[in-house]
Structure formats: structure tokens, C-alpha cells
């Protein structure tokens, strides 16, 4: 993400990030983007999320 793109997103979020901190944040957006990619595995359209952990017996076993 470029610095200009970051500035636009922070404005939309309403976060008043000091100018001196913005370049460092922009430089680390690559980790955020990488994580978002890592959780997008190919999966069946009906694959359900797990909002919390699965307790024993809470869901039918596949």
C-alpha cells in the first residue's frame, strides 16, 4: 500500500495518525496484506466459520 493509499484509508477510518508515524505504518502494510492472502484458502462455498473454538460434542463430527 502506498503512502497516499494509506492516508486515504486512515481518513475514511477517522484515525488522526501523527504524520511522523505514517511512513512506518505504510511500510508494514505488506504484512497485513500477506495475512489476508494466507487465510483465503480455496474452500467450499458452504464452509462455515468457527467464531470460537469447537467444544467436544458441540457440533456433529464430519
Amino acid at each position: 500500500m502506498t503512502r497516499a493509499e494509506l492516508d486515504a484509508v486512515l481518513a475514511r477510518l477517522g484515525l488522526n495518525v501523527p504524520e511522523k508515524e505514517r511512513d512506518e505504518i505504510a511500510a508494514n502494510t505488506l504484512y497485513i496484506e500477506k495475512m489476508a492472502e494466507l487465510v483465503k484458502k480455496p474452500r467450499w462455498v458452504g464452509a462455515e466459520p468457527a467464531h470460537v473454538v469447537k467444544f467436544p460434542g458441540a457440533f456433529p463430527e464430519k
Partner: protein, 462 residues
């Protein structure tokens, strides 16, 4: 003269037999805090009058024949995200520095009911996430083995105060490793119990679906004693499990014969490469378990980065939602580390969050399948010994995959256990993990290992 270093189990035995007065024990810890905490900054608020009053009350109860059990009269510290009635609970943050709760957290009530003497509120990373920070109302805690070193976080004050003998045990919380990280870097024992085993009601949240409360103490036995006091169903916590609580201390047989342990080596040899001292210490610990009669074999899971991405995305997104209103209106009242990490969290979309919780289900199933023929898995708790406190990167949580986060994603009981020291005297640890609600098996293995090795005999010299 009270010993500088007592475990909960040792002190409890002396208190029960009236060889040690809780008042004397409490005063000795207050003296030690006064003498040493200017180096450690482990407390942000000491409560001497309240502690001595509680100690006198426990002494009266014991004298009257109303001994409650092994936590009775034990001096304890509370991470400053555990709400305490009438005592500020700040999350170590300017944003909440005037917050005075009207009631104790459920787990604090349980600890007090068990007879604990609350010594004060312990340092944390800001809202259990951002640190070490030097721009908050209180300084960050320092590692008692070398005060130029990082304690790990976020349960930093508990990590510093227990090994130094300022308290006998303390509370932690763990959303991505905040019990196990400080336990690893500061050389104590810390267990993140199964998700839902200890109520989170009255504990300032970081991320609802990953937050675990838990004990930190010098030994696995002390963690078992403390867990017994803290665990239990609480209708006020929607994630609280209504599950039978076993006798954790009774499970500590000293024996691991027949236990089946899987070692996830690739987590610390390739995915987040540990330094040689750490790798050797963990491999030696695995061999020790084999010598003691456990069967040990290597297993492979998805790359650590997958687990970390899933957990960190969920954690930071939930944290952002919790703090969004204050971030929009009081951004610079947060410390720089916390606020800049939160600014990054705001970049994820709702769809990213949903993909992460879908990934979570797949990873939970993966660990369940991998553990079908196992009782425990072990891996590293941290890739190195504690780094210098001023060399911790601002975005440490995202630039290197966390070794502890996988077991927040799965809600499994997971514990850091000291397994040696570097040549310069800094602690090294491994992490041992059980199946959900098999916390007793984790404690049993950790306790047996501690009994069979010399590491619990060494304390920091301050």
C-alpha cells in the same frame, strides 16, 4: 525470617501447619517489593494496607480452624486488566487510568474466596497488546534475570514479579501468547488453559474469541493449585464452559509413562527459526520425556505462518472493534505501539475477518486430526531468549509468525515450561499443549519434567 523464594505449595504447607504466618509472609513480600521493584517496575499499584488487612483476616480464619486450602494466605499479584472493586484497573493505559470498577472480576472473586492476599496490580502491555512502551503513564516491566532485557508480553508484570519472589503467583491473560511469552522469557511456569475454563467476565478484553485468563507461577504444581481456584462456570461470560473441573493437583503423579507426545519441530526449525540454544534445549527436553517413558515422535502441521495469520487477523480485528471509538477520538492518548498496530488492523476488511474465522475452523480440525493418536504436542514457546528491551520491533507481532498463537486459534491448553538457561543465564523454554479440557495432562507432563530436571532450583539474583 521468611525465605526470599517460596513456591505456593511450600508456603501453603507451612501456613497450614501454622509454621508460617500469612501476615509475616505478606510483610516479607511487601519488603521485597519496596527493595527491588524500582529495578523491575513489575507493579503499577501496590496495596500494602489492603494486603496486610487481608493477611490478618486469613490468619484469623486459619487460627479459628477455617483453613480453606493451598491458596489461603498466599500473596498474589493481579495483571492490571483484572477488574478490582474500588481499585483502579487501567490496562496500563492513559485511556483508562481513572477507571475504578464497581466489582471484582469473577476470577478475582474466586481467588479471594480461596483466601489469596492481593498485593497489588501488575504491569501489562497496554490493553494486553502494545509493548514494551515507554510513553505510557507507567514504565514497562523488566526481566528479573537481566533488567536490560524484555519480559515478553503482555503479562509482563507477572512475568517479572514471580521469579523475583515479589509475589508467589499472579494472574495473566493470553490472546496470542501473553501468558506463555513472559513465562518463557522470565523462566516461570504459565498455562493458558482451555478456552472457556476460566471466566473472562470483569477482565478487560483484547479479542473476545481468543482471550484466555490463566495462572502464572514458579512451578507447574503452583499453576495447578491456582487453576483449581480460578476455573469454573460463570454465566456472566458467554464463552464460559460448563464443564466438570477435575482435581488438577491430584493429576501430578510425576509419571509420564505411556503418554504420546508429538513434536512440531518445523515450527521452530524452519517456520520461525529458533537460535541454536533454544533448539538444543527443546530437543533435549523431548529426549528427557522419552527417557521418562513417554513416546515421542515428530509431526507436521500447516506452516506456522498460516496459524499466525489466522490468529493475528482475528485478534487485531476484534481489538480494533473494541477500541474503535477511543481510537477515533483519542488516538494519541494510546501509546505509539498500540495505536500504530491498531491503525494497521483497521486496514483489514470484514471479508478478511470472515475468511480468517473460516480458516480457524480448518485449523482446529487439522490439530484435532493430528492429535488423534497423541496426548500432547510440544514445540518452542519463543524462538530465542529474551531480547534487549529497547530492541523489540514495534510490529513484532506481525513481522515474524508467533509460536504461541496456534493454540489460541484452537483454544487448546498450552503451557510454557523452563528447560534450561543460556550461557549468560537467561531462561529457555518449551511449550507443551494438550487436547481441549485435558489441562490436567499438560500440568502432569510439565510437573514430571520439572521434578526430573534441575531448572526450578535456580532464581534470579537481584
Amino acid at each position: 525470617m521468611v525465605s526470599d523464594f517460596l513456591t505456593v505449595a511450600e508456603a501453603a504447607k507451612l501456613i497450614e501447619t501454622k509454621e508460617l504466618s500469612p501476615v509475616e509472609l505478606t510483610q516479607s513480600r511487601l519488603d521485597r517489593i519496596a527493595k527491588l521493584d524500582s529495578q523491575l517496575h513489575s507493579f503499577i499499584r501496590v496495596l500494602p494496607e489492603a494486603a496486610l488487612a487481608a493477611a490478618r483476616a486469613t490468619e484469623g480464619e486459619i487460627a479459628a480452624g477455617r483453613y480453606k486450602g493451598p491458596m489461603h494466605g498466599i500473596p498474589i499479584g493481579l495483571k492490571d486488566i483484572y477488574e478490582t472493586k474500588g481499585v483502579p484497573t487501567t490496562g496500563h493505559s492513559k485511556v483508562m487510568q481513572d477507571h475504578v470498577p464497581a466489582a471484582d472480576a469473577f476470577s478475582v472473586t474466586k481467588l479471594k474466596d480461596a483466601g489469596c492476599v492481593v498485593m497489588g496490580k501488575l504491569a501489562t502491555h497496554e490493553f494486553a497488546f502494545g509493548g514494551p512502551s515507554f510513553d505510557l503513564p507507567w514504565p514497562p516491566a523488566r526481566n528479573p534475570w537481566d533488567t536490560t532485557r524484555f519480559t515478553g508480553g503482555s503479562s509482563s508484570g507477572t512475568g517479572a514479579s514471580v521469579p523475583a519472589g515479589l509475589v508467589l503467583c499472579g494472574t495473566g491473560s493470553d490472546t496470542g501468547g501473553s501468558i506463555r511469552g513472559p513465562a518463557a522469557y522470565c523462566g516461570l511456569a504459565g498455562i493458558k488453559p482451555t478456552y472457556g475454563l476460566i471466566s473472562r467476565a470483569g477482565i478487560l478484553p483484547l479479542a473476545f474469541s481468543l482471550d484466555h485468563a490463566g495462572p502464572m507461577a514458579w512451578t507447574a504444581e503452583d499453576c495447578a493449585i491456582m487453576l483449581q481456584a480460578m476455573a469454573g462456570h460463570d454465566p456472566a461470560d458467554p464463552a464460559s464452559a460448563n464443564h466438570p473441573i477435575p482435581d488438577y493437583r491430584k493429576a501430578l503423579t510425576g509419571d509420564v509413562k505411556g503418554l504420546r507426545i508429538g513434536v512440531i519441530r518445523h515450527f521452530y526449525t524452519t517456520d520461525n527459526e529458533a537460535n541454536p540454544a533454544t533448539r538444543d534445549a527443546i530437543d533435549t527436553a523431548a529426549k528427557k520425556f522419552e527417557e521418562m517413558g513417554a513416546s515421542v515422535r515428530e509431526i507436521t502441521l500447516s506452516p506456522l505462518a498460516d496459524w499466525a495469520a489466522c490468529g493475528v487477523l482475528i485478534m487485531m480485528s476484534e481489538a480494533y472493534a473494541i477500541h474503535e471509538a477511543n481510537l477515533r477520538t483519542r488516538f494519541t492518548d494510546f501509546g505509539e505501539i498500540f495505536r500504530d498496530r491498531m491503525a494497521l488492523a483497521g486496514l483489514w476488511t470484514a471479508a478478511d475477518y470472515v475468511q480468517a474465522v473460516r480458516r480457524r475452523r480448518e485449523l482446529i480440525d487439522e490439530l484435532d486430526r493430528a492429535m488423534a493418536g497423541l496426548d500432547l504436542v510440544m514445540t518452542a514457546a519463543a524462538p530465542t531468549e529474551a531480547p534487549k528491551i529497547d530492541e523489540v520491533p514495534k510490529f513484532a507481532i506481525i513481522d515474524r509468525p508467533s509460536l504461541t498463537m496456534p493454540f489460541n486459534v484452537t483454544g487448546s491448553p498450552a503451557m510454557s515450561v523452563c528447560c534450561g538457561f543460556t550461557e549468560t543465564g537467561l531462561p529457555l523454554s518449551y511449550q507443551i499443549v494438550g487436547k481441549r479440557f485435558q489441562d490436567a495432562t499438560v500440568l502432569r507432563a510439565a510437573d514430571a519434567y520439572e521434578r526430573a530436571t534441575p531448572w526450578r532450583g535456580r532464581r534470579p539474583s537481584l
